[in-house]
Symmetry: D2
Subunit: 311 residues, 4 copies
Amino acid sequence: MTDKARVVDYQGVLDYIAEAVRPQFGKGRVADYIPALADVDARKFGMAVRLVDGTLYTVGDGLERFSVQSISKLFVLELAMQHFGDMVWTRVGKEPSGDRFNSMMRLEHERGIPRNPFINPGALATLDLVMGLKGDTRHRLRNYLRFLAVDETVDSNATVARSELDHAHTNRALAHLMKAYGNIDNDVEDLMETYCFQCAMEMNCAELATAALPLAGGGYSSLHDTAVISKNQARRINSVMLTCGMYDSVGSFAYRVGLPAKSGVGGGILAVAPGRMTICVWSPELDAFGNSYVGTAALELFTSMTGVSVF
Amino acid sequence: MTDKARVVDYQGVLDYIAEAVRPQFGKGRVADYIPALADVDARKFGMAVRLVDGTLYTVGDGLERFSVQSISKLFVLELAMQHFGDMVWTRVGKEPSGDRFNSMMRLEHERGIPRNPFINPGALATLDLVMGLKGDTRHRLRNYLRFLAVDETVDSNATVARSELDHAHTNRALAHLMKAYGNIDNDVEDLMETYCFQCAMEMNCAELATAALPLAGGGYSSLHDTAVISKNQARRINSVMLTCGMYDSVGSFAYRVGLPAKSGVGGGILAVAPGRMTICVWSPELDAFGNSYVGTAALELFTSMTGVSVF
Amino acid sequence: MTDKARVVDYQGVLDYIAEAVRPQFGKGRVADYIPALADVDARKFGMAVRLVDGTLYTVGDGLERFSVQSISKLFVLELAMQHFGDMVWTRVGKEPSGDRFNSMMRLEHERGIPRNPFINPGALATLDLVMGLKGDTRHRLRNYLRFLAVDETVDSNATVARSELDHAHTNRALAHLMKAYGNIDNDVEDLMETYCFQCAMEMNCAELATAALPLAGGGYSSLHDTAVISKNQARRINSVMLTCGMYDSVGSFAYRVGLPAKSGVGGGILAVAPGRMTICVWSPELDAFGNSYVGTAALELFTSMTGVSVF
Amino acid sequence: MTDKARVVDYQGVLDYIAEAVRPQFGKGRVADYIPALADVDARKFGMAVRLVDGTLYTVGDGLERFSVQSISKLFVLELAMQHFGDMVWTRVGKEPSGDRFNSMMRLEHERGIPRNPFINPGALATLDLVMGLKGDTRHRLRNYLRFLAVDETVDSNATVARSELDHAHTNRALAHLMKAYGNIDNDVEDLMETYCFQCAMEMNCAELATAALPLAGGGYSSLHDTAVISKNQARRINSVMLTCGMYDSVGSFAYRVGLPAKSGVGGGILAVAPGRMTICVWSPELDAFGNSYVGTAALELFTSMTGVSVF
C-alpha cells in the first residue's frame, strides 16, 4: 500500500492493457445458452476505473452497455443487507461452495441453505428475501441500479429476460428444491421472472464502477453523496465477494488479481479496491469457470502494473 | 486504510482484548484426539502484534510456546514456493475446498490433486514435494522455522509427534489415496513421520508473528534483513491464506476478521495485514470448524478496534 | 423350491401373521407430508395372496382400498415397456441408487438420467415417456389399472392428488433438473399433475395382488386371460423390482424377505414370487426408509413360514 | 420354473455357448493393474455347471485355474457368517453401493461402515473380522477353499499376491480410513497381506462351481456331505450376491442374467441358481464395470436358453 502516494497514470495503464490483451481474444467462449447473449460481438473490450474521489478513466467499449447477469447479485445482496442486516445470513451462507455455480448436490446436503449469495441458489434466496419488501421488486431493482449508476436510463432488456426465462430449468429446479426445504417464500414462477429481469439489466463499465463506489469508500460515495451502506457492511460485502464472487475459481482469481470481485456470464467483472477505487472490465468470452477470460487477464495486468491489491 | 495515519495504541488494544475475551472461555473445546494436546490448559490466552517496522507488542501468554500444528503448513508452502515456484500448483490446487479439512471425497473426485495446500491432503502433497529436495527434511524444516522466528531454540516436540503418528489413520488414508493417483513420491510412512514432526513444532505468538513478517512486508522483513520470498509470492501466499486458510469457515472468518490467516488445532491463529503488521493469537479451545474460538473473537475485536482489514 | 409340492395352508399362514404382527404396531410412522395420508388409521393391516392358478387368500383389511402411491410406478413401467420396449432404458437406468429416493445429487452426477424407474426422478422420466403416447394419459393409467385389477371402480382420489400437487416441490425440482438435461419432454406442470394422479390411485391388497399376477406367471395370467407382457419382460421387471424396488433398503429387504417387491408411502408392499404367486400387504406405518414397517415384518414372516423366496 | 421338469442337455448348451460367444472376444479389456494379471491369454474361455445332485458339465478351459480375485470375497463372507452370524452386519452393510467398487466417498459419509461385503472396503472389514479368530488366517482361508473345492492342491499364487501388495495404495487408503473410524482391528499391513493372499487364490471353473454348491442346496451339499452353512445363511448370502455381487452393475446383471453371482477381475463369474445348480464362467476380458465381458454374455445366453433364473 506504500504505492498509494505514487501518482499512477491510470489512463495510460488502461490504454496499455487494451492493447496488451488483444492476443488473448479467441481463447474463451461467449455464453451461448441463450441466443440474446450468443449474438454479442466476441471482441468487445471495455474497462473503467473510478477512484474514490470520483475521477473516472475508461478505455475501449467502456461506455457500451452489456448484460450484467450475475454482477446484479452484488447489488441485490446490498439491498438485502440494507433492509434485513445480518438476518440475510439465516437464508444463505457466506462460504465458498467448492462446486459449480448451480450445484444441487451441496444444496441438498445443506438442507436448502445455499452456500453463499453469489451462486445461483443463493442469489435466488436473497432475491426471495427482497421480494418480501412492499412494492414491485422489479421497480425497486431498476430504481436502485439507476440510483447507483447515477443514470436514469439504466434498464432491463426484455428480450434477454424472456429468453433466460425459457431456459431457466436448472434455476427452477434449484428454487423448487429450496422451497421444499422452506427457504423460498414466493411463488417460484414470480421469483424466476424477477430473477431473469434482474440478470437482464444492462449497464456499461463506467456505470458499474460508479455503482460499486460505495463499496470502495467504506459505504460512502461522493458521487452518491450519501452513505449507501454502513462501513461494516461495505467491508463485509467485499469479503463475501473475495471468497465467493468468482464461482469455482475464487482462489485462482484472488491469487492472480487479489481484489474482491463479481463476474457475470455477460463477460463483465466488477472489482473493488477498498479505500482506493473500483474497476470494471468487459469482454464477452468466458473461461471454463464462466468468468471473462480476457477480463481476468486485464485485471491481473492492472493489479500487477499498479500494485493495487488487497494482499 | 485512512486510519493508517492514526497513531494506534496497540498495547492498549491488546490489553483490552485480553480482558474482553474472558467471558468466551469454555465455549469451545480443546482438541483431544491426542493426549499431548488434550492436556493443555484451556484458559491459556496470548497475543502478539509485530509491525512491519519490527515493533512487537504482546499480551498474556504471548511468549509461551504451543503446538503450531497446521500453522506449519504456511511455512512449508513458503519453502515449496521458494524452491519450486509455480510448479507447486501442479501438485495441489489453490481453491477453497468447501468440505471438512480431511475430506477423501473431493480428493477422489479430483483424481488425487488436493484442493489447496492448507487442507491435510494438500499439506501432505506440499511436504512430499519439499522432501524431494536434497538433505534431511526435518532438519530443513526446523532450520527454516528457527531462521524465521529468529530463535535457535525452536524445535519439534517428540512426544506430540509420536502421539500424532499413532493416530494418523486418516492422514495415512489420504496419503495412500494420493499415492494411488501418483501424487505422492515418497514412502507413506516417511511422509507421515515428517508431517507429524512438522505439526509438532512449538513456537509462541511472538515467534509466529516474527516468522510471518515477510508476508506483511512484500517478501522482505527488516528483522530477517533479506527478501525471504518475492513480493509476488508474498502476495499470493496471502491470497491462498485468505481463501483457504481457515478450513471450512474461510468465508465467515473473512467476514468477521477480514485478514489472511492460518489456524492450527493447537489453538493458534496467525494473521497477516499486508503492508502493516502480523498478528498471532493463541487460545486452545476450538470451534466446530477446528479454529480457535476465543482466538477468532480476539482477532475480530482487534480488526474492529483498529480498522486493520484488507477490506 | 422343494416345498413346491407341499400343500401349504395359506389362509392359516395369513391368519397367523395378522395376529403375530400386532406387537409391531406403533414402531413405524404414518406418512404425514400431506394431510390426506396422515389421516389414515395407523392400525390398518391387510394382506392378500394370489396364486398363479387364480386362488385368492386375504386377511384383515385386505379388501379396503388405500393410496397405492409408488406402487403405481411398477405399472407405469409395465406400460412403458409394452409400448417402448428396451428404449425405456435410454431414459432411465436400472441400477439401485444407493441414495434416498429423491436424491438430486446422483441425478446431477449422471446428467439427468435417473438411476432406475422406481426412484421419483426415474418414475417421472418413465411417465414422461408414456405421456408421449396418443390420448389422455390419466385415462390410460386408470383404464390400465382397472384392467389389471379386474375392477371397473378403481380410481384416483382427487383430494389426495391435489394435496400431493401442493407439496410436490422436490418432484418439481427433479423434473426441472431433468428438463435442463433434456430428459423430460412434457410441460413440467402437466407431468406433475399426471404423476400426482397416478400416485393417488386407490386399490386394495387383493386388487394389487391380481394386478401383479402376470409378473408371477411369466407375463401371462389366467385371470386376465392374456399375455399382458412378454415372458422376458416379466422376468426383467421382477429383476428391477428386486434390485431397486425398496428405495435405499433393497439389500436388507432381499436379505429378510427374498422376493421382488415394490412399496409405497401409503403403506402397501406388493411382492412377486415368480412362477408361484403374488403377495400384497398394507399397513400404513413406515420405517426410516419409507417402507411399511409392519408390512415388511409380515412378508418376512410369510417367506420364512412358507419357504417362498427366490433365493 | 415350469421348465424344471424339462430334461435339459446342459453339455449341449455349454458347447453351443462356447461357440456362440467367440465373436465377443476383443470387446473387453484384460485387467492390467498388475503384470501377473495382464499376462493372461485374453481368449481363454471356460465354463462349468454343477447340479445340486453333483453332476458336473464343463467346456473349454473350465479345468484351468485362474486368479479368483474378488470371488474370494464370497467365501470369506461365508466364513465370517459361520463364526460370527449376524454380528457380521455390525461391521459391514448389505446394501448396493451405487458407486465404484472402491469409493472412499461413501465410506466417509457412512462413518467407516462399508456398504456391503463385496466392495473392497467391505471385504477388508469382513476379512478383518475373520482375522480375529485364533490361528493363521491364510491357512484358514486356504484350507477352507480346499475343503469347498474338494481339492487339496488349491493354493494362492505368491507372485500375484506380492504384485497386488505393491499396487494396493487404494486398498491401504480404504483400510486406514476405516481404522480411523474404528472399523479395522488388525494392523493394516497384516490385513493387506492377508487380503492379497486371499485374492491371489487360484481355482478353475469346476472347482468354483463345486465350492458354491452349498449355496444352491440350502446350505447342504452332497459333495461335501455336510451342511456347510445353515439354510437361512445360504439364502441370505445369495440375496447379498444378487443385490451387491456385481459392483456397480448389479441391476443390469440381474436384468440380463437373473441369478445371484459374484465376479472377480481375474475374469471369473460364479453364479448360483438356488435349488438347482451353480454355474461358473471364466473369460479374462472385462467390461467397464470390472466384470467379465464374455462371461456375462455367456451367462445371459445360458439363462435364456435354459430358463434358469430366479425371476
